[in-house]
Amino acid sequence: MAEAARAIEMNTAPQSPVIAAKNLDLVFQTADGPVQALRDVSLTIDKGDFVSFIGPSGCGKTTFLRVIAALEQPTGGTITVNGMTPEEARLKRAYGYVFQAAGLYPWRTIEKNVALPLEIMGFDRAEQEKRVRNVLRLVDLEGFGKKFPWQLSGGMQQRASIARALAFDADILLMDEPFGALDEIVRDHLNEQLLKLWARTEKTIGFVTHSIPEAVYLSTKIVVMSPRPGRITDVIESDLPRERPLDIRDTPEFLAIAHRVREGLRAGHAYDD
């Protein structure tokens, strides 16, 4: 029911998945012998989904995101992004990536930082300026374009880095613990803004987090993972409405989903050792 309603709301029919992983394996060869970072990971992500990956350190959530972004090569299984290999998808500018640290280049102003991917991808000057202006407005950073990164707070820097990932208008936004280093209050604020941005842009978002409330608050789909070897233990489809005020976190529906996530983490023996 909810699925169909959402499809109508978004004015798009359900279609082939944006990301499809099947039996994905990834083994890192380290000095201490092989480490199984991902084992038998299968997952599909549909267009417009907001998917959170949650689990303790070493569960492979970041690794999985990096595989989608073609920053790591899987050692087994298949994965497609927009029906292509991750490399092809990257060359087609399928995704923007937001790292845990804002990673703005300190010698560039905010607008120059946001323009960086545009310069590399060869957009002309006028188009660059237009897009920079648009995405800075989108993340509420109008008027800060001429500032250097150090002149902005941590939360503002992270918003600038989101703007940078949005600048070339990729369909997919991959975010690796983007708010992990920020305090609770700033984090709440940015979560709210991120949901608004998602509603406005209709992007597909992959979001890695450590925080159960953050995952439940943001996601349409929560992927619970556990370590050694990194694997998926539960996939939870959230039935919370798309419109989510912050106080939705006190509703029984919200708490029920949070409970199931916690159960999933426990079932993975995540905190046993």
Binding site: R90, Y97, R108, D140, K147, F148, Q151
Partner: protein, 332 residues
């Protein structure tokens, strides 16, 4: 979101601030300078005293303590010249006398003029510094982009710096001054004999100055973090784009630090190069003639001139660094 206004300058104006600045920086600096001068005078008296006493004994006169001190501070060829002697010499050989220059085919002015000699040392220094740092940057780019170069060039660069420059300078001088192309240029009248002497000086100076730049630039070009590089990969950026937009700008602070070391090394290189070339001009030549004739005051004033030149060059680079880094968003 009014953070834009929150970054005002820290204004510490007014007389109170001025006095605070005076007592916190000027006074300590002055104290140290005075201490150095005092120690210097004391050392001069201690070291020059023996000659004064010998001389007095030979003449059979008895000297008071004040007379000994006064004589030890004003000898013509002291073991250690006093500050005022060095300063007098510096003054009279720079401002006090006309600069030597060529006029209608004749050298005019005073051959002792240190401005003239400093000029002859500074040009090869700047030329050698230019060649050396350019080469150093090129090598560093090669080393960071090619594993083969990393493994083959770096050991040679390090080895080159373990050879004493005094040993290799004469070899470079002999080889370069016998280059047919160079001799041809002189005989054709394209360059003068003096300009020809400038070439080996600049090369030796470059030999000393390229190394700090290589080391600093390699560190600088490798300074971007893994996520900075990952970001470039997510844009499918080419190696060239990663170089121009990430590695090169990230290396600029490292570059300036090594350039300052490098320009001081370049000056040393030029002075050393002047010693075995039998150069008539240059601070090295002044040092050499000074030591031939036991003119310690001349040696010391040439040394001070070299130090002043080095300081001026480093300060110049420092100013350039400030301007460049400020434009690159560094906090002031």
């Amino acid at each position: 979101m009014s953070a834009a206004t929150a970054y005002g300058a820290n204004d510490r104006s007014g007389a109170a601030g001025w006095i605070a600045a005076l007592s916190s920086t000027v006074l300590p600096v002055l104290t140290i300078v005075l201490a150095i001068v005092a120690i210097w005078y004391a050392a001069s008296v201690m070291m020059n005293r023996a000659w004064t006493l010998d001389e007095a004994e030979r003449r059979g006169v008895q000297l008071t303590v004040m007379e000994i001190v006064s004589d030890a501070m004003n000898q013509e060829r002291p073991v250690l010249p006093t500050p005022h002697q060095v300063f007098d010499e510096l003054w009279s050989t720079t401002v006090g006398e006309p600069v030597m220059r060529e006029r209608r085919g004749e050298m005019q002015g005073n051959p002792r003029n240190l401005v003239f000699h400093a000029y002859h040392t500074l040009w090869p220094t700047i030329l050698g510094f230019g060649i050396g740092s350019f080469l150093g940057i090129l090598l560093a780019i090669g080393i960071t982009h090619s594993r083969a170069m990393d493994m083959s060039v770096m050991p040679w660069a390090i080895a080159s710096q373990t050879i004493p420059i005094l040993a290799i300078a004469p070899i470079i001088v002999v080889v370069v001054s016998n280059l047919p192309a160079l001799n041809n240029a002189v005989s054709q009248g394209w360059i003068s004999e003096d300009t020809k002497l400038l070439v080996p000086k600049a090369l030796i100076s470059a030999y000393l100055s390229f190394f700090p730049v290589v080391v600093g630039m390699v560190a600088g070009l490798r300074s971007p973090q893994a996520t900075d590089l990952d970001l470039m990969r997510t844009y499918s950026a080419s190696r060239g784009q990663t170089f121009w937009k990430l590695r090169l700008p990230a290396s600029v602070p490292f570059l300036f630090t090594s350039l300052k070391v490098s320009i001081a090394a370049a000056l040393v290189g030029t002075i050393v190069a002047e010693l075995p070339t039998g150069a008539r001009f240059g601070l090295g030549a002044r040092l050499l003639t000074g030591s031939y004739y036991g003119q310690t005051i001349q040696i010391w004033s040439a040394l001070f001139m070299a130090a002043i030149c080095a300081a001026a060059l480093v300060i110049l680079l420092g100013a350039l660094e400030k301007i460049v880094l400020k434009r690159m968003g560094a906090r002031s």
